[in-house]
Subunit: 108 residues, 2 copies
Amino acid sequence: MSGIAQTPEPPYYAVIFASQRTKGDSGYGKMADKMVELASQQKGFLGVESARDEELGITVSYWDSLESIKNWKENSAHRIAQDKGKKEWYMNFSLRVCRVERHNFFEM
Amino acid sequence: MSGIAQTPEPPYYAVIFASQRTKGDSGYGKMADKMVELASQQKGFLGVESARDEELGITVSYWDSLESIKNWKENSAHRIAQDKGKKEWYMNFSLRVCRVERHNFFEM
């Protein structure tokens, strides 16, 4: 699940989620892992990339269509996590939905 | 420069850069800071978000147009950093160019 996502040829879609956390875990790590696992089982899921440091967390998930993104947004377990995120885990966050026009992979 | 980028209303463009580093710094930290500073002075730059942990680094830069992205790619100081990245700093990386269709910001 970790590292650089191996996505198919563009076009496809990306959701860029950037967040600043509150202090402490409060069950966050476990739920975050569970959400990645659950997302990866959804129809149209293409991959995910995630990194977090003291300043910021960035998770980018890749999808085959806007329809798949909408379905994942409305997934019931995901909605519970979204609520908890707003109430407990995040100080602030941004969500961006993008169409990936081109990509390049480099292995040294 | 840190935290969530305050970008204008979509549409605009994002470059998602995900990378896995080689061990050691080898001047990386200093160059990375310099590149963010330099990028932010380019025409059409809208913001940047960056996070790195042991697995992966993700930097997302936001731009007003594909033309601005192209100009930044071809910037001479940036090209030197790109070469050094390929030779020394990265084990592998991916670059994705996307059109941001919509965004949402949440402050708790």
